[in-house]
Symmetry: C2
Subunit: 341 residues, 2 copies
DNA sequence: CTGTTAGCGCGTTCAC
DNA sequence: GTGAACGCGCTAACAG
């Protein structure tokens, strides 16, 4: 498929050592030979065999990026940021998608280890952020594999970087309280999913502290897929319907737009809606969505940096970072209808 | 980081050959030793060094997938399909994102070649589907690197698989004609982008054949980013405004929703809108979008198969495939207002 | 059945 | 400045 360093040496009437020196821009070769060999390499389309090189160098300059779901645009955004940092430092990034499947996640970790990646950046699958779901990371830590989790550490003492969820979620709740909402509903919590659970916790904490009566009547429609659609719609059959909804992500919010409209509920006139995450369509739809958006740039930067530190010093104590989110007010949230209470 | 096959052999009081045999499930080892060695390998957390293995095997069981933009959900969809086919056959897939940048594309190709991928699946960057933009693929072909293009072959004789654009685009045009539209606008054509150019061609062909008067007054708002927004809006200041718009993809369509509404134009009452591609929000927004959706599943399947064939026989003549799209009628298209014509 | 050995392509001493 | 020789971890003959 491509010639080897040895063939090149033969063609250039020299030894592999010399060729290797010029290929790696190392000193100790006369300028003339250097130029000659470079020309020959170009001419014969020489392509170094990275495998052989890495095998002897025992350094891959390669990081693994394992993500719970590539369908999530945020993770792609992440990847771009991380990759450009890496490229700047001569690192390559291997991507893998676990498709929210722990088994696949483990499989990918194994594969990357076999490929001798220097370190791993992992968005653990969201299904199971319990300590059980994180047990396989313990193995990694024991084996001294440098890795950092993007998300919670599941109670273990791992390196991790994550978006701050509780405070940020509280901001959304406070926003609704300030607008005058008291009857609030939370939609799309996935039991067992740490991220949504924290968002819920952020809401309840603020409510309990700042408006106990609102906390008491907080409603929830949880579950997978779109199970919550009929439940949420049913709330609006009664006079004590919520005047504001907090959805666990933009997808959940958008999926409610049409069903609500069909039962005669208008946003934000009849109900306010606030959400999490950021997508290009968030401000294009009507009404545009008020959201709390994670600071991906900073999370990515810190994750990469943390991994570099870990690679440098495998013995240092693990550290965790929480990055605050940004609140963006848009059209979907407003004061409750006066006549409604 | 992990023990080697040699250390394992020493621990098990045997030779590397035997260990290698059990690790690869090859015959010629007594059941007892096999079990012993497997246990030991497990116990010591042995992880094979794929680099060393591939170096000697000269087979990576690894494909490269280079895509013009990972931000496009369709390409992720693709990746999933291709990857699952690959995994089923013991192949791994390396992803790379060229971010619509030819330079990056070349860089990634180089990297994958250096990693000795067995073959490449490439979505060329869309900016330049001219023959100049495809010249670097000629090098690949000359070097006998197995690769297949996802998209047009730019006039060269390469393997490629692509969504059929011209006929499919014609279906949208015909749909509008049948609804009674005659004043039609095309939005979002990127000059130099083969895909959008073909979609435009599909429209004009049908119009010229089936309604020459409509073809004559066909309008266009081309360009990058969102340049076309003010232009499209300005059309509606005059009585001869288009009654239907064909946008080059869902993003373009969605970006027009609000601006049109702001100038008092309602979809589909005042103007019908039809588009291309498929996104989860396409049927969730209001009004839901009538689109022509590419058959990704089939394209992915065929691309993978074509690559396998190419790897098997590097000398066979290249072949191209065009996969028809599916038309999906939704709410955004309807008959023109009677009073308008 | 089992062990010995020769490379795979490359970077790196260490002599010349 | 230059080249011969060794070893990275592994597979595949080949010989017992």
């Amino acid at each position: 498929m491509s010639i080897t360093i040895e063939e090149l040496a033969r063609i250039a009437n020299t030894s592999v050592a010399t060729v290797s020196r010029v290929l790696n821009n190392k000193p100790g070769v006369s300028e003339k030979r250097r130029a000659d060999i470079k020309k020959l390499a170009e001419q014969f389309g020489y392509s170094p065999n990275i495998l052989a090189r890495n095998l002897v160098m025992k350094k891959q300059h390669m990081l693994g990026y394992i993500v719970s779901s590539l369908s999530n645009p945020a993770y792609i955004d992440f990847f771009h940021r991380i990759e450009s940092s890496c490229r700047a430092q001569g690192y390559q990034v291997l991507i893998a998608d676990s498709e929210e499947n722990v088994k696949l996640e483990k499989q990918h970790i194994k594969a990357m280890l076999e490929h001798r990646a220097d370190g791993l950046l992992i968005f653990p699958v969201a299904d199971d952020h319990s300590s059980a779901g994180h047990r396989h990371f313990l193995d990694l830590q024991l084996r001294k594999v440098p890795f950092v989790l993007l998300g919670e550490s599941g109670g273990y003492n791992f390196d991790y970087v994550t978006s701050e969820e509780i405070e940020s979620s509280g901001v959304l709740a406070r926003h609704l309280l300030e607008l005058g909402h008291r009857r609030i509903g939370v939609v799309g919590v996935l039991p067992g999913n740490r991220c949504t659970e924290q968002r819920l916790e952020g809401v309840t904490r603020v409510l309990e502290r700042e408006s106990p009566e609102a906390a008491k009547i907080l409603r929830r429609a949880d579950g997978e897929k779109e199970d919550w659609i009929p439940e949420v719609c049913s709330w609006f059959k009664y006079p004590d319907a919520p005047t504001a909804l907090i959805t666990m992500n933009n997808g959940v919010a958008l999926r409610l737009y049409r069903p609500l409209e069909e039962v005669g509920i208008e946003i934000p006139r009849d109900v306010s809606m606030v959400s999490f995450e950021d997508d290009f369509w968030t401000e294009l739809i009507r009404p545009s969505l008020t959201t709390s958006v994670p600071n991906n740039a900073e999370v990515a930067r810190l994750a990469f940096e943390t991994l570099r530190e870990r690679i440098k010093d495998p013995e240092a104590p693990p550290i965790g970072h929480h990055i605050p989110q940004t609140f963006i007010r848009r059209e979907s949230s407003g004061p409750p209808r006066p006549e409604q209470k």
